[in-house]
Symmetry: D2
């Protein structure tokens, strides 16, 4: 198993054979891949400055370290809300600064990388763009951390090789994010593959994130799957929180309320400690 | 979500709407579905009395509550080792008695139910027989606990309705076992669906088991996935242990050594405690 | 590819390396695996003698060679119609005799084999029982043709080895039936895998059937997929026909009317001829 | 079923409710979506002018209407051959002109659209980019036909909505290409979903292409699946042909030799005629 990540006799950059110790890096005072389990929270889409601010204030109070929010949304239908674009980026940056929280947002188009990087501390590649190798190559030439979500039905090998596309360009600050894969199950939106988390921690030195909100698509499953993710070895969690999920412009059914998020933080804390880590 | 398990206006027997409190039952002093997380361990197949005895002795010493071992093996090829049949059952019963451990074994054929029930404390329906409704109906008329594994690509609905087949006959001592479903991932044998564990705990009152050995097919993933399973809410774990995995007649690559099992028991203990449960 | 079906250096009985020429056999005057594409038609379940007679009369007039109908139905819920059992078998046998059509029906339980074999000319193993190796072994000891449906997510290897279970017992009259596998597509009930048909025809000498009714679950797709199945190499088609699909006790949405079936027969005829075969 | 493609009461542009008759359009004298089944052939990647010329000469002689070849290759590993880029495009354009064949090639990056469109008559969006909505939106503003491959595990709904992204911009010359989806089968590279072809022909007016080379990944299955694709209703086939598949820089195992392609053309001709169409 240890020899899987080899090309023509050489260990890949993502491989733990290439680098034994875990990759750690700091983003504005937040250490990713370290002892502390990092929790990133926020709404699916940036809807307004007020909503984002309220969310940020509350999730920070509960212990979230970073703020998330989408300005560019990859929606299945061209007629669905596509995000507020640059306006959304500006809101995100302002709120992040006000709250002193690093921010994460998705970049969908290689032409937008410069713009998004101006406002965000970490760039996220969504599941739908994991195979967008042009985008990955360009991100590889930048000096900004990248969250790489696993593709909708991507194998672990394809996912690690997608990270290799980024690292081959010189950018080694990559976080691998498991967000559920497609299966024949229909009562959950996707099937979270936590064995992939454990396996990637074994095969690679990169930090691993889990997104139980997209991974399940079901609000009541977010907390138990967050606990399970930490137990499986995840370094980072990404949780969708919205002050009023029923009115969210996207992904309401999987969003926690700030109160639900606070409960989640309380529940994961003893699990993290049982794994020799901490949440706060 | 709560209303999923309804037929013509009536809550199904498996549904938590039908019975609010968790189902608990005792098997020779072992309480399933209670505060204590039950760990069942043993070899995939019963190979010889010596091997089984050695395994039982060691896993009991590490804290396993029950002993598993297959006498009838559903193998993909008719030319692979098919299990020792009745001879195996006798060995299992003897070792269980000697060690004072309840035993679990698989029944594959409705004609064998009486025979297997004579020697085993719990009957297991394998993933390949989850849709074998004739077998399920007959098990429903018995007074013996049944472990019902989820089918290879069964939906949660089909799995719960398979349990309903057993319960409709009057037998309510059913344990649901998640053992991984098929996906397009190839580095693991199956994809363990822990969100199914959390969801079944929400929708049903039945106890839930996880089999990380078959679920991953990879030895090094058994311990992290056991921890994750407990964090997701599992009541029971089933772990393959063999004194000499390299020489096992089946499923060697996913079997722990007794030493590895002892390590697993040490690692899951703090997780169970963090979830308000205990392992020993 | 040709060497896939080997165990310990020996070609399996299912393998074309073991037998170069196609397996052909006759069932009451119907040659399966020969020049003529055999079409089996009838309702999903045997509901009443009148309905079955009407269906048989009409599908025979359109060119169907054999009659199908289920007396034992593997339903997802224990509370759904389970089939008329022995009463249904008797109806099927009578109608088959009256119409001079060989009949096919499913056997679900190894204890029922003798009973079902008394009334049916071919025994069908459903997709849910493909891994029921006890059942397969018993069928291997009989002298009656068996239709073996591919499991819901079975690999081609598992399917061919399931046939090997039957052949290893001495019964070589096996027909392999592709009926769709599970995928993440939701607008069709299953995903018919016609490349499996072409591959099995290459690797094995056994005749291959396609069931586009269960394979798609959508009435309007049955005819185009029947044409495609013949073009891919199928020897036999199995088509659900009901005089009044809206009132069918099971699988109405995928059943053709007798008129729709007659249209299907007209449309597949030129395709069969283009493949060097004939339908009538 | 007919009402699936509706948003807020309006039929989508892709829907057959919006436009009853089939979409047809001409590319340099080749009519796509018309009576004639169009066959596009050529190597996976453009390796050299000599190889492409030889291939083009031979496939045209056998009846291919268009030439394919990749200049930008989306490879799983960053260290695999990535295509010759602009140099490859120039070769493709020159050979297409010399042979009087329209050419098709893939565009991977929204920044390259202008460049690729300069050299190619049709732009192809690969399966890995089906969800790349930025790319699709930009293609929607152009006046050049687009082949849109179905994503690796995309549902039919997502695929049609991806086409809607292009059409919503004003570009209505879209061809939908089925190229196999992921399943748990491992003996074929992907599982070609021909029921999707039949269903899309029913639901949409757009022409449908099938790529049996990528769809199966197995040379011997390309011809039977081409026949089946035409029988299921495909308007266009795309076939990988290489003069020396063993030495191909990518996808050798699924490429036909020119001689194999000539045989394919002979075998599909009677099927096309049986469907009221023609190949030459």
């Amino acid at each position: 198993m240890k020899n899987l990540l080899v090309k023509e006799g050489n260990d890949l950059l993502v491989s733990r054979m290439q680098q034994t110790e875990n990759t750690q890096f700091e983003v504005k005072g937040c250490v990713i891949g370290g002892e502390k389990t990092i929790v990133i929270a926020g709404p699916c889409a940036i809807e307004s400055e007020d909503i984002l601010k309220e969310t940020a204030f509350k999730v920070r109070a509960s212990g979230a370290s970073m703020l998330r929010g989408g300005a560019y949304k990859p929606r299945t239908s061209p007629y669905s809300f596509q995000g507020h674009g640059e306006e959304g980026l500006k809101i995100l940056a302002r709120v992040g600064q006000d709250m002193n929280m690093p921010v994460v947002t998705e970049v969908m188009d290689s032409e937008d990388i410069g713009l998004v990087a101006e406002y965000s501390d970490i760039l996220q590649v969504g599941a739908r763009n994991m195979y967008n190798y042009s985008l990955l190559k360009k991100l590889g030439r930048l000096d900004i951390p990248v969250v790489l979500k696993r593709g909708l039905s991507a194998t672990i090998e394809e996912w690690l090789l997608a990270a290799e596309y980024i690292m081959a360009g010189g950018n080694c600050r990559v976080v691998l994010c498991e967000r559920g894969i497609r299966s024949s199950e229909t009562w959950t939106r996707n099937t979270i593959d936590l064995s992939a988390v454990a396996l990637v921690k074994e095969l690679s030195h990169l930090p691993v994130m889990v997104d139980p909100s997209h991974g399940t698509g079901v609000r009541s499953l977010v907390t138990p799957m967050s606990k399970a993710a930490i137990a499986a070895g995840a370094d980072v969690l990404m949780i969708e929180v919205h002050p009023n999920p029923e009115k969210a412009l996207s992904d309401g059914p999987q969003s926690l309320t700030p109160r639900g998020f606070s409960q989640l933080m309380r529940e994961i804390e003893p699990i993290a400690r049982a794994c020799g880590r901490r949440v706060k």
